[in-house]
């Protein structure tokens, strides 16, 4: 028997073989059909971008994730896209340049420089849908419902929808700006781990008690819908802006009209994904996966149109991660 040639791919990179490759392709088409029939226009942004313009307002953050190398032809730095939603926002602002509502959808390869801690991959297929130019609650509702429908259409059952508000988190973190960048990062990390004891050791007793208590309260505000009412009391000291965030979440839940099969979870202290989110953030889970299957949120102002921050809300999912949980026989 001929000896096998040893073959390897770069770390965090995989190739799809039969029958999985066809399965993924069928689900990819299913998603595009769903988005297009829901009124979203399909776009195919390029795999490569000029590094200097990658990411708009979130340039630095995206640059951290992107593979960057020199273009021998022009001498400029190029980046492989680590995210497509950001490209969609660029297309909305600079190509379509419309003041009306624009809905875009996409499915394509993304590559990240760092290996994802949980999935251990650097290259995957990202699918998503974004709504630009609509700051209404209806757009948020539409985006959340479409995210759930996407996962259901891919054959996922027993979904949990988690909601949070990036605005609320930043109102609290704003109060710690004076501590400097490094301490702020530590506090943010402690909040993302809900580690009350780390917050206590970072913020020594006595000084700034009330702000510390607010941050600790935020760590504990997760669970069912009752969390919103508890937050009204616990976060009262944050003032009307914070209460508005809570009212918004309440109103949003009322408008969602969730499928009874979908469980609702609130996590007010959640810091989710990219820092450019500034309104509602949402994510979906199933019991058998140890990580979120889809994430999204509002990110008004990532791009500007006529110097005005462009409203935006959308979600995306990692198709390769989701496929392994599908119950569909395809």
């Amino acid at each position: 028997m001929a000896s096998k040639i040893r073959w390897s791919l770069p770390e965090g990179v995989d190739e799809l073989l039969p029958p999985k490759a066809l399965q993924v392709e069928k689900l990819r088409r299913r998603l595009i059909d769903l988005y297009v029939s829901s009124g979203y226009q399909f776009i195919i942004p390029p795999l490569l971008e000029l590094s200097e313009t990658l990411g708009g307002e979130a340039h630095e953050e995206l640059q951290e994730y992107a593979f960057t190398f020199k273009d021998e032809l022009t001498g400029k730095n190029l980046s492989i896209r680590p995210d497509i939603s950001e490209q969609a926002s660029r297309i909305d602002a600079y190509r379509l340049d419309s003041n009306d509502t624009v809905k875009l959808c996409y499915v394509g390869d993304v590559v990240k420089r760092k290996v994802s801690k949980i999935l251990r991959s650097r290259a995957t297929i990202q699918a998503g849908a974004e709504i630009f130019g609509d700051s209404s609650i209806d757009a948020d509702v539409e985006s959340i419902n479409l995210m759930i429908e996407s996962l259901q259409s891919l054959g996922l059952e027993g979904l949990t929808l988690s909601l949070g508000h990036a605005g609320l988190v930043s109102i609290i973190l704003e109060r710690f700006k004076g501590f400097g960048e490094s301490k702020l990062r530590d506090l943010e990390s402690a909040l993302s781990r809900k580690s009350v004891s780390d917050i206590n050791s970072l913020l020594s007793e006595g000084k700034d008690q009330s702000n510390r208590n607010l941050l600790i309260s935020l760590c504990k505000l997760y669970g069912g819908e009752e969390v919103i009412d508890k937050a009204r009391t616990d976060l009262k000291a944050l003032g009307s802006e914070a209460i508005e965030c809570l009212d918004y979440l309440k109103e949003l839940i009322k408008n969602l009209d969730l499928d009874k099969k979908v469980k609702l979870h609130l996590d007010l202290g959640e810091i989710q994904g990219f820092r450019y989110h500034n309104g509602v953030v949402f994510s979906a889970y199933i019991e058998s996966a140890g990580y979120s299957l889809s994430k999204g949120g509002r990110y008004d102002g990532l791009r500007k149109l006529d110097n005005e921050p462009r409203p935006a809300v959308g979600f995306d999912l990692d198709l390769l991660a989701v496929v392994s949980f599908t119950q569909l026989d395809i």
Partner: protein
């Protein structure tokens, strides 16, 4: 990857912390059905059929919980500080497994130093601590018995867990500086906190009662 739906895996670290955890769960609905000292099983049944206890090394607990292969874990803060890049919720300080992580050496060795060679199994903590004193760390990674390393000329100091301080003394070392107090924490997988919130709440109240 979790294959058992509607199940909850509680990962406990073998050794001293496990002994301290046992009284917390015995007499509760999560009491172990097997006698852990008599069985060699790694996955143990509890009085609640949907909850199982996974008995592994403390260093592996954050990894299991980050991936969601275990949903809840108990692990020392010393290990969490090293594994800070893993992603999990650090839900509760259980105030068990108490000790401290300290710098120890033959005599006063941090005054006026710019470099220091330390043996440790906590390279991240060691580096962070020495950097905060503006000392460049030369780390010698050792799996165990750090106390003997200075005497053998491998390094000048060690950074390790200290409980009573007896081991240090017996090996001619002094505890020079306490870096931080350590205790065991209850950690939770990020997704499980959302999908298994009710069961996790029950485990939490059992552990902190």
């Amino acid at each position: 990857m979790i294959s058992t739906e509607d199940k909850l895996i509680l990962a406990l670290p073998k050794g001293r912390v496990f002994e301290e955890c046992l009284p917390l769960i015995q007499d509760s609905k999560f009491q172990l059905l097997d006698d852990p000292s008599a069985t060699r099983k790694i996955l143990l049944d509890t009085a609640t059929p949907e909850v199982k206890v996974l008995l592994i090394r403390g260093w592996d607990v954050p990894t299991y919980v980050t991936f969601g292969a275990a949903h809840v874990g108990i692990v020392g803060k010393d290990i969490l500080l090293e594994k800070s890049s893993e992603e999990f919720i650090e839900l509760e300080d259980l105030h068990i497994g108490k000790c401290r992580i300290s710098l120890a050496g033959k005599k006063e060795i941090i005054e006026g130093r710019t470099r220091l060679k330390v043996a440790t199994k906590y390279p991240n903590t060691a580096k962070r601590f020495l950097e905060s004193l503006a000392i460049q760390a030369e780390i010698v990674y050792l799996h165990g018995s750090q106390e003997i390393a200075p005497l053998m000329g491998l390094c000048e100091a060690i950074i390790d867990l200290v409980d009573s301080g007896k081991t240090l003394k017996e090996n001619g070392l002094e505890e020079i500086k306490v870096i931080r107090e350590i205790s065991s924490r209850m950690i939770v997988n990020k997704a499980a906190l959302k999908t298994k919130n009710v069961l996790i709440k029950e485990i939490r109240s059992t552990l902190i009662s």
